[in-house]
């Protein structure tokens, strides 16, 4: 491992008032690999992504993208950095005043100066990759179902072929077949296009399919990280409880674990 990681996080903290969401996150994402972050609801997974993107300012710590520091960077550096990223927001975040095709083509038209005609063509291609097509291109986001919006949002995130793609719960709200189509698409982005991917998911089947590495976040820290093959022999009771979806265990009942280890 001589190669510099694509993203390098050290001791990243972020609080909202008295709520300490991130309490020292350390994470390395190797170039061209697919990392999946798992962890309970409200543990700060989305906040972690937003700190890397600079949408939220980390309170302290260091985040390096290709060796360049993001925390406290100037607006210009951050804007330059943003060109490398594509992001699928957990809530979709589609522009509701623009038609679907324009949503997908947005980054091409405004970021890469592609002509509208060309961009529309590329947008429809991306829509086909996520299981939709020309028929919905001229509709507006509000006219689509939740799962369809999610897929449009995914098409938008990958439309500019970014180097680094963040997927915040890409398969939530999709039927199992469509979820698998999306899994394949994410794998393809990493394998064929050489992108570095960071995915948040609660869907363990999806995690096993798309991940090279898995990291688990709990109480504001990364408590375990390793190759996906080691997921079942992680040696961490937290990971065990999470991946098996058990209601009782150290995550839900920290006291019992303390007693056991005492």
């Amino acid at each position: 491992m001589t190669m510099r990681p694509k993203i390098e996080m050290r001791g990243v903290t972020k609080s909202f008032g008295t709520k300490h969401v991130l309490q020292g996150v350390d994470l390395d994402i190797p170039v061209g690999s697919s990392m999946v972050i798992i962890g309970g609801s409200g543990t700060g997974k989305s906040v972690t992504l937003k700190c890397v993107l600079g949408l939220l300012q980390a309170d302290s710590g260091s985040i390096k993208v290709d060796g360049v520091e993001v925390v406290g960077a100037s607006t210009r550096t951050r804007e330059e950095m943003m060109k490398k990223f594509g992001m699928l927001f957990q809530g979709g975040a589609l522009f509701d005043s623009l038609p679907i095709w324009y949503n997908v083509a947005f980054g091409l038209i405004h970021g890469k100066d592609v002509s509208k005609k060309e961009a529309r063509h590329l947008a429809i291609e991306k829509l086909e990759q996520v299981g939709m097509g020309e028929t919905i291109a001229d509709l507006y986001p509000a006219e689509l179902s939740g799962g369809m919006q999610k897929r449009v949002s995914l098409a938008r995130a990958i439309a500019t072929n970014p180097e680094i793609i963040f997927f915040d719960e890409p398969t939530t709200g999709l039927d199992p077949i469509m979820a698998d189509v999306i899994n394949d698409l994410i794998v393809q982005c990493v394998k064929d296009l050489g992108a570095t991917a960071l995915t948040i998911t609660h869907d363990m089947a999806s995690a096993r399919k798309i991940a090279d590495h898995v990291a688990m976040i709990h109480q504001g820290k990364i408590i375990w990280t390793g190759p996906v093959a080691d997921l079942d022999q992680s040696g961490s009771p937290y990971v065990d409880q999470f991946i098996n979806g058990r209601a009782s265990g150290p995550i839900t009942d920290p006291q019992s674990e303390l007693l056991k280890s005492a």
């Binding site: 937003k50 993107l53 600079g54 949408l55 804007e79 943003m82 060109k83 990223f85 594509g86 992001m87 927001f89 809530g91 975040a93 589609l94 522009f95 509701d96 947005f106 980054g107 405004h110 970021g111 938008r156 500019t160």
Partner: protein, 273 residues
């Protein structure tokens, strides 16, 4: 009352006093912070107005949204204000037999004060509120974050077109309002009060000076800037959820209205003293 009991009472009052000071200090700090935030936002907006890329199509669209669609409400306001001015000044001036003064009262109050201020307030209610609601919703649904990840600066994409359109369209609206307002006074004077139309128009033309109209239009430009800026500022910094957007909308209209009245006074002082 002994000394010790007086001290005791004082001691009881101290926490109350402290709380009060704390509350006052807190609200002063809040106001200062808000003013600072608004000033920085305004400077940032102006900076982005002057540097490329400029979203020209968006500016044109805002011309229509802010200017054209405000025409009915601004026109109605001016018309009835001109009419009521003529009526009121007749009841006032008729006692002194100075009916010719009506034309001057109407045209001067309309062009200098009423047309810009009332148009500003009407547009604050119509446009300021809708800007705050639209941008606030985009903030809450992460659309503003999405713009950033797609390498488009939301200040340039959302704020600049609205503020530019506001500052340009409001003077045009006010100029139209001036004409309609004077016409309203004319209708009442000739049809209700029975003056001759020729002498009314002559009076109007005699009394009006370039400065009256120009000062009103400058005011309108400033008000247009303020209204759209407040809409954008409160929307951009909207709190979370539907409630956050609601508060942003209210604040946009209230602060815009107050700023219009304050700046109206300041500009009047600059122009006419």
């Amino acid at each position: 009352m002994t000394m010790s009991s007086a001290i005791k009472i004082l001691e009881q009052k101290v926490p109350l006093l402290k709380n009060m000071c704390q509350a006052i200090g807190h609200s002063i700090l809040n106001v200062v912070q808000a003013l600072g935030g608004i000033t920085l936002f305004a400077l940032d907006t102006i900076r982005h107005c002057l540097t490329p890329p400029i979203f020209l199509r968006h500016i044109l669209r805002q011309f229509i949204d802010i200017g054209y669609y405000s025409l009915p409400v601004v026109g109605m306001t001016a018309l009835f204000t001109g009419m009521v001015l003529a009526l009121q000044s007749y009841t006032g001036f008729s006692r002194f037999n100075a009916e010719s003064a009506i034309a001057s009262v109407v045209v001067l109050s309309i062009t200098r004060e009423l047309s810009p201020v009332l148009a500003g307030l009407m547009v604050a209610g119509r446009v300021g509120a809708s800007i705050a609601a639209e941008i606030g919703t985009m903030r809450v649904t992460e659309q503003i974050d999405a713009l950033k990840t797609l390498s488009v600066n939301p200040m340039k994409y959302l704020v600049v077109p609205r503020v530019v359109a506001g500052a340009i369209m409001l003077p045009i609206l006010v100029l139209i309002g001036d004409i309609i307002g004077v016409y309203g006074g004319y209708i009442v004077s000739t049809h209700v009060l029975g003056f001759s139309s020729g002498s009314y128009l002559y009076q109007t033309w005699q009394v009006i000076e370039e400065m009256d109209v120009v000062s009103g239009l400058v005011k309108a430009g400033v008000f247009g800037f303020l209204v759209t800026l407040m809409g954008c500022y409160h929307g951009y910094n909207s709190g979370r959820g539907a409630q956050g957007v609601g508060t942003a909308t209210t604040n946009a209209v209230v602060t815009a209205s107050i700023l219009i009245l304050i700046f109206n006074y300041l500009l009047t002082q600059v122009f006419f003293s």
